[in-house]
Amino acid sequence: MTRPTGPDSLLVIVPAFNEEGAIASVVSSVRRHLPGVPVLVIDDCSSDNTIPAARAAGASILPLPHHLGLGGCVQAGYKLAYELGYAYVIRVDGDGQHDAGDIPRIFERLKTSGCEMVIGSRFVAENGSRTGTVRWLGIRFFRAVLRPILGKPVHDPTSGFVGVNRRALDVFSRSFPLEYPEIEALVVLQRRAFRFEEVPVTMRPRTTGRSSITGLKSLYYIVHVLLGVFVNVLKYDRRFHRAQRESSRKPALNVATDTAGNTGRDAGPNARPNAGPSADRGVGG
């Protein structure tokens, strides 16, 4: 895989677990729409031919030594991208549901808006994307839950078609939800007062394999994610009050320190970072 070159270096990551039927077309499609952009397939210890298929299609492979689940798999990709020094990372699912033709728009929005995260959303505009009734109900439910927490509506909180910039990459490479990460990741970013935007995208029905959230697992998913959101909100409040206390003690100082000892304007919920990608350029690269 090529090292990042230039301030707008982009890496497309594809978490995959037993996706031999779709992975080659996903990688080829990304390479066709974004020639020159490296594609990294993170293989979550597949037992089929996902790795050879992805490699043959031209992707770099990050094979995990054992199955970590979606969150651990995606975070491994974020960690590697951060270490290599990429400025932007866009995640595409390996099952063929995401249209690689939408990636340039997500990338453009990431670069121009200054948002830390851009979500490819099925529901921002009517675009013919279809989803099952149970999933649709779940999405409506989590929209309602997240609205007051995030302070703005999010139309498609379960979308895995997500682009992040280097500031979000820094956060996610250190802290990322391990199971069902999409919704919790939004709250993790909210704790940093990071911003997100949504871009309308088209999603296709999965071509191979089956969703991991079926039957009783849907219930487990709801409980798990609600608990994760609740815990993250509690952490947020603690940080918020700590930041309030610190700012009242040191009114002149605008730079806070986070729990990991890193300094930066993103450390407190009230401190919105205003630096562009150049602020982080070169770190870890």
Partner: protein
């Protein structure tokens, strides 16, 4: 009552022997066996020392002795399960971080180990 205490004694002894055998065969690490051994010994003592059990009952204000024994035993095991959940959570986090680190290091190694010509070809192929 005596029957309940005898059953508790028997179960405590079984647990004690089982844990000791497991430690000897290295199925359980010593540091994780201590909690089990302490729980087994506590139940053994309580089931054999009736005055002590009675004192615990009076101190806790519970209406009868069997209930005291049952709640005491349940409390011990709930605390142990909680402790092991904490340990497992830490182990899982460490395990995931290690697996990710290993995968990333292997990735860097493969990139470094590639001969120059292969690297150039691969870069051309990848881009």
């Amino acid at each position: 009552m005596d029957r309940l205490l005898n059953v508790t004694t028997f179960l405590s002894l079984v647990l004690l022997v089982l844990v000791l055998i497991s430690v000897r065969r290295a199925h359980i690490r010593v540091e994780y066996s201590v909690t089990w051994l302490a729980a087994a010994v506590a139940m053994l003592i309580l089931s054999r020392a009736r005055p002590l059990l009675e004192a615990v009952r009076q101190w806790s204000g519970l209406p009868d002795t069997p209930l005291t024994l049952f709640l005491f035993g349940s409390g011990i095991f709930v605390l142990m399960f909680f402790r092991f959940s904490v340990i497992i959570s830490h182990l899982r986090d460490d395990n995931i971080a290690l697996a990710q680190r290993l995968a990333i290091l292997e990735f860097h190694l493969r990139q470094t180990a590639r001969p120059e010509g292969v690297e150039a070809n691969a870069s051309a192929h990848e881009s």
